[in-house]
């Protein structure tokens, strides 16, 4: 083809055409602020005594990765089923979403994951660390003992659990009514603990002598005997035959007894045992009345349980103490003395004193006492701080004997007597023992501090084992640090429950199952505070195309050759998983002068 000849008089139109890209300009040299990915700590995970990685669990659940979410629980808590049913969920009280609309239903999600794992017979992929030579005995097969054994097994120790009853589980099996914690849920959690390699020996009553002998065959003994004996009222008539012990009553029901309880039953106390007894009395046909010496808001029982009890018809009489119980023609005459509020203590609970001589007599069919429990044996009581004794947040180490180290945990060392605190105690004890055996007594306290979640007082196994959580900042994300513009108001799921009429007739579980679609919808509400859920906002809004996708777990990195440090990514991150810092590293950016 021949080109047309341009007449020589006409100058050809000249278009200057660029032929280089701007990639030669290393605009990173402009930067004086430096964005960086930094995962932070969610408030829920700090409040959770088991230190569960709740933000991550919700994110995985939302993506339909139920098994991974469930395994994430198991890394910190061997009782997802139990806690999903009976945990008093302090996590939800501090949920940042609560300031936006309503807290995420974390507890219901935990139970959903446990149920899903049970239904699909998931097997967790959790490998124990290489075997250690030390052997450890665990006294008490309740939640703290089983947790201690579970975490010690994960750390590679050989553990034997000694349980006095015929089956393991402690208070979970014998103290919590089935309508709150059905047996199959408990059994599934315990079977997983066994599968992990924990040996449980039942029907073995442990005495003080055993502790002495244990020194020969074990390097440490964990004592998690719990509170199994009811405290005394110390009033006339208390020792009458027929005055029932609350915990023993619950125990009988769990053993299958279903006594008919007509008429009025008075339950003395304000803790969870009192509520459990009262709600059981309802189910056995009786009319329960709880007599508590302070106000409803002062009751140590969990508020949700109190509300459910009142809903089921339990009557609560505040500001009364029993002063005597007298038998009368098959009934009892209980005399209640009215109390008066004098002020509040430093925790906001009412301080009370008898209100003159104001009393009331009440004719009742049954009297239950549930004013709290104490240890059955004196050797279960942890020693005070001193030489050779290390008092931690949720457990106590006693190294004075010279033979086996004694570790006290569970209710004995926990201020709040809850299942999840028992888990915290067992985990802390396991970590403390590992530190003790590997590095010595002196480092226990400081090393335990290193694996606390955020600024809280509970340990994380994953942080101790230097898993991905170890790299997170301990900064606890507050609501003001969440970019709420990326979230829409949405209602929290309502926990489906049996109708009240259905509840009253049976010991069937009150809470009904949550469906997968409900769980995905609910977990969508989670802010995942401080955690990256791969939303890609940083990538999308970058004016300098400096966020580059990659195959790392983060999924992306910042190309500091071009990043000008504008910080849009940090502000547009909905969940505060990034941070903007002053640029200090002179070498990181291309410092040669750029093109313009």
């Amino acid at each position: 083809m021949t080109e047309k000849k341009v007449p020589s008089k006409v100058t050809p139109l000249f278009f200057a055409r660029s032929y280089l890209s701007t990639e030669d300009n290393k605009t990173g040299s402009w930067r004086f602020l430096r964005p960086r990915y930094e995962e932070k700590t969610a408030p829920c995970s700090v409040a959770c005594p088991a230190g569960e990685d709740i933000g991550r669990i919700e994110a995985l659940t939302n993506q339909g990765m139920f098994k991974e979410a469930w395994e994430t629980i198991l890394r910190e808590n061997p009782f997802p089923g139990v806690c999903g049913s009976v945990c008093y969920h302090p996590c939800e009280a501090v949920c940042n979403r609560g300031e936006f609309d309503e807290a995420v239903a974390i507890n219901a999600m935990e139970r959903f994951l446990a149920d899903t794992a049970r239904k699909n017979e998931f097997k967790p992929f959790l490998t124990n660390l290489s075997a250690k030579k030390e052997k450890i005995a665990v006294v008490g097969g309740g939640p703290s003992g089983l947790s201690a054994a579970y975490f010690l097994t994960l750390l590679g120790y050989n553990c034997d659990v000694f349980e006095a009853e015929t089956e393991p589980g402690g208070v979970l099996r014998w103290g919590i009514p089935q309508y709150r914690l059905p047996l199959p849920v408990l059994e599934r959690d315990i079977s997983l603990i066994k599968d992990q390699g924990v040996q449980i020996k039942t029907g073995i009553h442990i005495s003080k002598e055993f502790l002495k002998e244990a020194g020969e065959s074990y390097n440490a003994v964990f004592i998690g005997c719990g509170y199994s004996r009811s405290r005394e009222l110390e009033i006339p008539g208390e020792d009458l035959k027929g005055i029932k012990d609350g915990l023993a009553f619950l125990n009988r029901i769990r053993h299958g007894e279903k006594p008919r309880l007509d008429g009025l039953s008075v339950i003395i106390g304000g803790g969870n045992t009192a509520i459990d007894v009262a709600r059981s009395v309802v189910r056995l046909g009786g009319t329960p009345l709880i007599a508590y010496r302070r106000r409803k808001q002062d009751m140590p029982a969990f508020s949700e349980e109190i509300e459910l009890a009142l809903d089921e018809g339990v009557v609560l009489k505040e500001l009364v103490i029993p002063v005597s119980v007298v038998p009368d023609k098959g009934d009892y005459i209980v005399t209640l003395h009215y109390m008066r509020i004098m002020g509040e203590d430093d925790r906001g609970r009412a301080l009370v004193e008898p209100d003159g001589n104001k009393t009331e007599e009440m004719r009742v069919k049954n009297v239950f006492k549930a004013i709290g429990e104490e240890t059955a044996e004196s050797w279960c009581v942890p020693p005070h701080k001193g030489e050779g004794v290390v008092t931690l947040n949720n457990s106590t180490l006693d190294c004075r004997t010279g033979s086996a180290v004694l570790v006290f945990g569970g209710d004995l060392t926990n201020e709040i007597k809850s299942v999840v605190h028992a888990v915290a105690s067992g985990k802390e004890a396991a970590i403390a023992l590992d530190i003790l055996f590997r590095e010595g007594l002196d480092t226990v306290e400081s090393k335990i501090r290193d694996c606390l979640v955020g600024n809280g007082s509970f340990c994380s196994m994953e942080i101790y084992m230097k898993g991905p959580r170890f790299d997170r900042s301990s900064h606890v994300v507050s609501y003001s640090e969440i970019n709420a513009d990326y979230f829409y108001l949405s209602q929290r799921i309502t926990q489906p429950r049996l109708l009240r009429e259905e509840r009253l007739a049976t010991f069937d579980e009150v809470n009904l199952k949550v469906s997968a679609s409900m769980a995905i919808k609910e977990t969508e509400r989670c802010f995942n505070c401080g955690l990256c859920n791969q939303c890609d906002n940083c990538y999308l809004f970058c004016p300098d195309l400096s966020i580059v996708r990659d195959k790392t777990p983060q999924g992306r990195h910042i190309n500091y050759d071009y990043c000008k440090g504008c910080g849009i990514c940090v502000v547009e991150c909905p969940r505060n998983a990034m941070i903007l810092e002053e640029e200090t590293n002179e070498e990181s950016a291309g410092r040669e002068s750029c093109g313009s």
Partner: protein
């Protein structure tokens, strides 16, 4: 859930926009939605610089740099040339700033739209002549400081309503969009792409340098402008059919003004007055949309 925005980028890093530049983000989203079969006509504006000084180029699509006032006319010419070549698949896009649209390029734009030239005109609006040193334009909002409305002489004229001016031409498609609402922006670009005739997009693009704001809140400010009804998201088809795309909860405008250095001289009384204006404009828009 990640925002639904196409994956492919048609820009290179290393461009010399200021940190946090809203116009750079606007171009990024626009090209993601538009694809590479386009020719960009670029009258003088910030983007004349961002696109790269010769021989560099920050875009992966063809660009013709042209004079300030010629956005509409050069695009008409390029379109005619493509049509002569039989190339109907390539879209001609004019990418102009607010100065090149509201003021200097207005007659060429008006002429092109009146002829219903088959092209897309995008005005990325940073509310002043930023590139040349923050001089006021007819897009600068009431109350703003600029270097030509300094001190107590802050701008006391209202911002020109450019969409309404275009709607008066019975333009087939006119819409507002914001860099803080990428899904909405992408949808509008894709919609405009499929319409024949003149199409106008008014894209709100924050300017941290000229607005005296920290660069990191660039998107946040753009989002607030929409949330506060200062920059409503809506579209108009054939000059008559109005659709409001985002109905905000009507937050007070105060917070938006308080965050920006260019408004720091405004008193509470001034802000109350501005609130009145914003409410009035919004009511007017609601009436037009028949809501």
């Amino acid at each position: 859930m990640p925002l639904n925005v196409p994956e492919q980028d048609y820009m290179y890093p290393g461009h010399v926009a200021c940190p946090g530049c809203g116009a750079a983000i606007a171009m990024r989203f626009f090209l993601k939605a538009m694809g590479e079969k386009i020719i960009i006509v670029l009258p003088a504006c910030c983007w004349s610089i961002i696109a790269g000084a010769y021989p560099q180029m920050s875009l992966k699509v063809p660009v013709i740099h042209t004079a300030f006032e010629t956005g509409g006319s050069v695009a008409s010419g390029v379109r005619a040339a493509l049509d002569m070549k039989g190339d109907t698949g390539t879209t001609v896009v004019t990418w102009a700033g607010d100065g090149g649209t509201f003021d200097i390029g207005f007659q060429a734009l008006s002429g092109a739209v009146e002829r219903n030239e088959n092209f897309i005109y995008v005005c990325y609006d940073n509310e002043a002549y930023m590139n040349t040193g923050i001089q006021r334009s007819s897009s600068t909002p009431y109350g703003a400081w600029t270097t030509t409305t300094p001190g107590r002489s802050w701008k006391r004229m209202r911002k020109k309503n450019i969409v309404e001016a275009l709607v008066a031409h019975r333009i087939p498609y006119a819409a507002t969009a914001s860099i803080a609402f990428p899904e909405d922006l992408v949808r509008k670009v894709e919609k405009a792409k499929d319409i024949k005739g003149s199409r106008f997009l008014h894209v709100y693009a924050t300017c941290p340098t000229g607005w005296r704001i920290p660069s990191e809140i660039s998107i946040k400010i753009a989002r607030m402008a929409v949330q506060n009804n200062i920059f409503p998201l809506y579209e108009v088809e054939d000059g008559v059919k109005y659709t409001i795309n985002y109905k905000p909860k009507e937050f007070p405008v105060r917070e938006y003004f308080k965050l920006q250095g260019r408004f720091k001289h405004l008193t509470e009384g001034d802000l109350a007055e501005i609130q009145e204006m914003v409410n009035e404009d919004w009511e007017l828009l609601l009436k037009k949309a028949g809501d």
